[in-house]
């Protein structure tokens, strides 16, 4: 089996006829097939309830598919267990739509958590945290309790945590939902920087300002099905 720290593969995410049903009869995704290349920035668009978040959850193994195959870095992520799964997850950074922040901890602690599990040294963690906070204009919030921040600030902390451990795959769910135009640009700059350093980025969004003028691939979902794919695989 291929590990993510092995030589990079051309394909980082592969979905073949993936479906996800919720009881009693909700079809969140139906026969979705998709390939994302290493180092690519990929936009997943569609209205609320189209299945964007479900797709991201399936890729990071937060949910299991009802049918189909999902491979991340050449490994069937839903067959991985224990240390192998943990190691793979360390290389996947996820900015969740519901943030999943520890609201009683400081901003710095929230960002550091993804690096602590990889046993990064405290000075390295501290430097990286400060660096990310500066890039997202949150330097003054270093020791603030996360629960006391605004939604927009919390969203940026989530993003900082997702990219902190320099993952090779970054999944971002609605990264700019609570942000103004200037902050949105900073967030996109950070994601572009991650892409430049070799990370693959999948962004689920319904904010068309993010992808309107992009030359990256875009896939539109509608009621769990692929409606169109721009610039790559055709549905």
């Amino acid at each position: 089996m291929t590990e993510m720290n092995a030589p990079p593969q051309p394909t980082i995410v592969e979905l073949i006829k993936v479906s996800k049903n919720y009881p009693p009869d909700v079809i969140a995704l139906a026969d979705v097939s998709l390939t994302v290349e290493t180092g690519e920035m990929f936009f997943l668009i569609g209205k609320s309830g189209a299945g964007k978040t479900t797709l991201l959850k399936l890729i990071c193994n937060m949910e299991t598919p009802s049918n189909g195959l999902i491979e991340v870095a050449g490994q069937n992520i839903h067959r991985l267990k224990g240390k192998k799964l943990a190691r793979l997850r360390q290389k996947i950074g996820v900015a969740y739509q519901d943030f999943k922040l520890l609201t009683d901890r400081t901003v710095a602690e929230n960002i550091a958590i993804s690096m602590e599990v990889s046993y990064k040294k405290p000075p390295v963690i501290s430097k990286r945290v400060k660096d990310l906070l500066a890039q997202l204009e949150l330097s003054d919030k270093h020791d603030a309790i996360t629960g006391e921040l605004s939604r927009g600030e919390q969203q940026r902390v989530t993003l900082a945590r997702a990219v902190a451990n320099s993952p090779t795959l970054i999944l971002v769910d609605e990264p700019t939902g609570n942000l103004d135009a200037a902050t949105t640009e900073k967030v996109m700059n950070l994601l572009n920087k991650c892409k430049s350093s070799g990370a693959t980025i999948i962004i689920a969004t319904h904010d068309d300002s993010l992808y309107r003028h992009t030359d990256h691939r875009i896939m539109e979902l509608c009621r769990g099905k692929i409606r169109r794919v721009n610039g790559g695989l055709q549905a």
């Binding site: 937060m62 224990g82 943990a86 999943k100 520890l102 958590i113 599990v117 046993y119 945590r161 451990n165």
Partner: protein, 295 residues
């Protein structure tokens, strides 16, 4: 940063955030160990006292008449026919009188008007240490009482029987209290850890999502269990020792404690209790974490 540094830091955080429930668990473990160790201490001392009593145990066979040398030999043979004994000692009427006078000490004048042969002759039979169970002593006593020259057999029946029954009752109490307290300790520790887990469900879930291994998540909780076991049992034993010292000082002098030579646990027993407590608490933590990690 290595694994142990990360784990210890995580444990420090856990302790800071859940110190109140940790203190309650510590108190429960201490009390459980204290109660169990208290009964166990009494039990071991009673066993020692039983041994001591066994050392002094002898059957006195009062005889109708003073046996001559030939009769003594016959009786000796009859006694050893039943079982081997440690010692057989014939006490004549005169020797019995002398002993009695000696026991009376300053009050021996009361014997002045008494004839020197008013006490019956007797045989003191000291059974072998290996044969000193209550039933065996009873059988031996019955056998001796059936000898044709026997007047009466005495070995402090009532006292010995009550003492042995008390020890039996105490061993049941120790076994029952021990089992119940072991269960209490395991469940208390397991539930405290489970409460902590439920209170920190979001954090643990996040740790899994960002790639923490099961060992990274589990080890701090197991270390907490280990610490609770160690400190809980140590506090329990220290409390028991304080109680023991207080009782020793308060009831020093010629009393029941003096009679029984009341002693505290040996260092080996103390270490054993602490290790057992650590194991129980760690197992409690492990059980809780396994349930969470399986979800």
């Amino acid at each position: 940063m290595n694994f142990w540094f990360a784990v210890l830091r995580q444990m420090g955080r856990n302790l800071r955030q859940t110190w109140a429930s940790q203190c309650m668990t510590l108190l429960t473990v201490s009390l459980s160990v204290l109660i169990f160790a208290f009964f166990y201490l009494i039990y071991t001392n009673m066993l020692n006292a039983g041994d001591k009593l066994g050392d002094d145990l002898r059957l006195i066979v009062y005889l109708q008449d003073e046996p001559g040398p030939e009769m003594q030999e016959q009786l000796r043979r009859k006694i050893t026919d039943f079982d081997q004994v440690q010692e057989i000692k014939f006490i004549s009427r005169a020797q019995a009188y002398e002993r009695f006078a000696k026991q009376l000490g300053q009050n021996k004048d009361v014997l002045e008007d008494m004839p020197t042969d008013f006490l019956p002759p007797s045989i003191e039979v000291t059974p072998l240490k290996t044969l000193r169970s209550l039933n065996r002593v009873k059988l031996f006593s019955e056998y001796l009482s059936k000898l044709p020259v026997t007047l009466k057999v005495q070995y402090g029946q009532d006292w010995v029987e009550r003492f042995f029954y008390f020890i039996r009752l105490l061993s049941i109490v120790v076994i029952l209290s021990g089992s119940l307290l072991i269960l209490t300790t395991v469940f208390m520790v397991a539930y405290t850890i489970r409460l902590t887990i439920m209170g920190r469900q979001a954090e643990l879930e996040l740790l899994r999502l960002v790639g923490a291994t099961n060992d990274y998540i589990r080890t701090p909780f197991m270390l907490e269990g280990l610490m609770q076991g160690f400190f809980g049992s140590t506090f329990g034993l220290v409390s028991l020792y304080s109680l023991y010292q207080w009782i020793k000082i308060r009831f020093s002098g010629p009393g029941i404690l003096y009679l029984f030579n009341f002693t505290f646990f040996t260092p080996d027993t103390i270490v054993l209790i602490i290790i057992a407590s650590i194991l129980l608490c760690t197992v409690g933590s492990y059980m809780s974490m396994q349930k969470f990690l399986r979800i």
